[in-house]
């Protein structure tokens, strides 16, 4: 079985091709990443970039895998959650491919895909999942065939906080340099914590918008930028760790897995290692290359879904910008 997957939810247009054999299941993994010159991702600009890049990415992926498109079993595509204009490019390419090749089309939830590729690569079976990226901050676990949300952000996401803060104090773009976020780097020289910044954990949920506002204000009032970075980092990461520990204790699961773009942070990894030691659970961290958005995770999830017969008619394969992870029936597990 060979599946081609298309990812285009935010800044990356990616095509991955996977097979269901155990060794070397990734046949192709091609990506084009939109890097804004200034500011954040502009959905229109990103989607234009995708339109220009898509044919090349597709061509390269097919060449790399050395398969005839006729041999594909199905085409999978991420239909949400994400930015509308970006999602539409991937959906259009997928509908065209599926109709032209007369192959089934599999609708994949981007968040579920992050989790599924994480399970595949870390070999974990039933972990508590910490999902951290630019658009998501949630602690989820599989209960009754759904990835249920135990705690999440009440407002902005962790990646959103770090990126917006970095942009507003003039540290970014670029946001990530050599695999380290600029806020992490700036925090290295921080000496003291600004204890007046708010740490907000409500039940199982976190909230970052107050921290963001307070951090910007502290900086404008003359606080040392390195100290502000350090405080933002510590408060943000530790509140997530607290929620993750709560979910571990609540569900009594013995594994902890981290997925999503922010999972690549070495600082966070170090903290998570200490946390899992304390609670006696094993820790799985998705390799950075597959923690960020990519086509392979869409293809792999599409493969799992296709095996249990989940497909969609191309005419009905509409995007959904707000498709929550807990709305998907995980019938393959």
């Amino acid at each position: 079985m060979i599946i081609l997957g298309i990812e285009s939810t935010a800044h990356t247009f990616g095509i991955g091709i996977v097979s269901d054999r155990d060794e070397g299941f990734i046949l192709a993994d091609e990506r084009a990443k939109y890097e804004p010159k200034e500011g954040g991702i502009h959905p229109r600009e990103a989607s234009r970039f995708f339109v220009e890049q898509a044919p090349q990415v597709l061509k390269k992926a097919l060449e790399k895998s050395a398969i005839n498109p006729r041999d594909l079993s199905a085409v999978a595509v991420a239909l949400g959650p994400g930015m509308g204009p970006c999602l539409r490019v991937g959906a259009t390419v997928a509908r065209v491919l599926a109709s032209y090749l007369r192959k089934p089309l599999v609708p994949v939830n981007h968040a579920v895909a992050h989790i599924e590729i994480g399970l595949k690569l870390t070999g974990m079976v039933d972990p508590v999942i910490v999902y951290l990226s630019g658009g998501n901050t949630a602690v989820v676990a599989l209960v009754n065939k759904r990835y249920r949300i135990f705690g999440e952000t009440l407002d902005i996401a962790l990646g959103n906080l770090l990126d917006s803060f970095a942009r507003d104090v003039g540290l970014a773009p670029p946001y990530v340099v050599n695999g380290v976020h600029v806020v992490d780097r700036c925090a290295e020289k921080g000496r003291k914590l600004l204890l007046e910044l708010p740490y907000v954990v409500r039940g199982q949920d976190v909230s970052f918008s107050g921290l963001y506002t307070a951090a910007i204000k502290a900086y404008r009032q003359g606080a040392n930028l390195h100290d502000v970075c350090l405080t933002v980092r510590e408060i943000a990461y530790n509140s997530i760790l607290e929620v993750a520990a709560r979910a571990l204790m609540h569900t009594k699961k013995k594994e902890l897995m981290v997925v999503g773009g922010v999972a690549a942070s070495p600082i966070l990894r170090d903290k998570l290692e200490k946390l899992s030691q304390r609670y006696g659970v094993s820790l799985g961290i998705v390799p950075p290359r597959y923690a960020v958005d990519n086509g392979v995770m869409i293809a792999w999830t599409g493969l799992l879904m296709f095996k249990v017969g989940i497909t969609v008619e191309p005419r009905n394969a509409l995007i959904n910008q707000r498709w929550r992870v807990d709305e998907v029936d995980i019938s393959w597990r």
């Binding site: 998501n136 949300i149 999440e152 009440l154 954990v201 530790n238 170090d270 946390l275 929550r324």
Partner: protein, 257 residues
């Protein structure tokens, strides 16, 4: 892991664990340990709960242990301030007629709080066995408690079904774990208490979801009256602030709130 934690705790407890009380009475002199029979009963994200006998009282120790992943000064600040706030909130709650564990001893620098043990079942565990009327009663009382706290500028911060306890025998309803409580009077914070209760029934008890929510709000309304509607509106607002919530789209496109 648990043994290592208990060892660490006993070091922190040393100051009171080695103390003895001497009781002089007509029948003679009796010497007693202040603290005995320590047994770890649950390990939470933030604290360990250890059952013990404190001066002959059935008690629990809530110990906010040091977090190895936190910078030490931030960790210390949290442990101290949360321990103090928790004790304050418990006393205040008791004084306005909310049943909670009673604080007996505290040592904020070590993150220690000793309080009476409530012998009972959490609503979370008992809900399957209770009939509809009983579930409704418990939720209504919980709603009343939360409303009383809000009237007195306290938010609980973690109103889940695990933190509502029904005492064995008496059937009295207790509210426990004020670890995330705070002294504020803002409608947003009050609404988050209600939101957390709603979420906890939605995620764990789908079959009695509507009943539990309705009775909780009935209880809440019996204390706060029409103000309850403002709270419910705010709960809706908070839900819309979350990520990828479909209802939010309506407001953006059609100007409907």
């Amino acid at each position: 892991m648990e043994i290592a934690l208990l060892e660490e705790l006993s070091k922190d407890l040393n100051s009171i664990a080695s103390e003895k009380v001497i009781i002089y009475s007509a029948s003679g002199v009796e010497e007693k340990n202040v603290l005995k029979d320590l047994k770890l009963i649950s390990l939470g994200a933030e604290a360990a709960i250890v059952r013990c006998t404190f001066l002959d009282i059935d008690a629990v120790i809530k110990w906010r242990f040091p977090k190895p992943y936190m910078p030490p000064d931030l960790d210390k600040q949290f442990r101290v301030s949360r321990t103090i706030t928790e004790a304050k909130a418990l006393f205040k709650a008791i004084s306005i007629g909310v049943l909670t564990p009673i604080p007996l001893y505290m040592d904020p620098a070590r993150g220690l709080l000793i309080m009476t043990f409530v012998d009972g079942y959490s609503l979370r565990d008992a809900i399957q066995r209770l009939d509809e009327n009983a579930v409704c009663d418990v939720c209504r009382i919980a709603g009343m408690y939360i409303a009383k706290l809000h009237e007195n500028s306290i938010v609980h911060g973690d109103v889940t079904t695990s933190n509502i306890v029904i005492e064995k025998g008496t059937g009295d309803v207790y509210l426990i774990d004020f670890g995330l409580s705070n002294f504020v009077k803002r409608i947003e914070d009050e609404a988050i208490d209600v939101h957390i209760f709603f979420r906890s029934v939605e995620s764990a008890h789908q079959d009695v979801e509507d009943l539990a929510k309705r009775c909780f709000i009935d209880g809440y309304r019996s204390v706060r009256g029409a103000y309850t509607d403002n709270i419910l509106k705010m709960v809706l607002n908070i839900r819309r602030m979350g990520r990828y919530v479909a209802e939010r789209r309506l407001r953006g496109v059609w100007g409907i709130t």
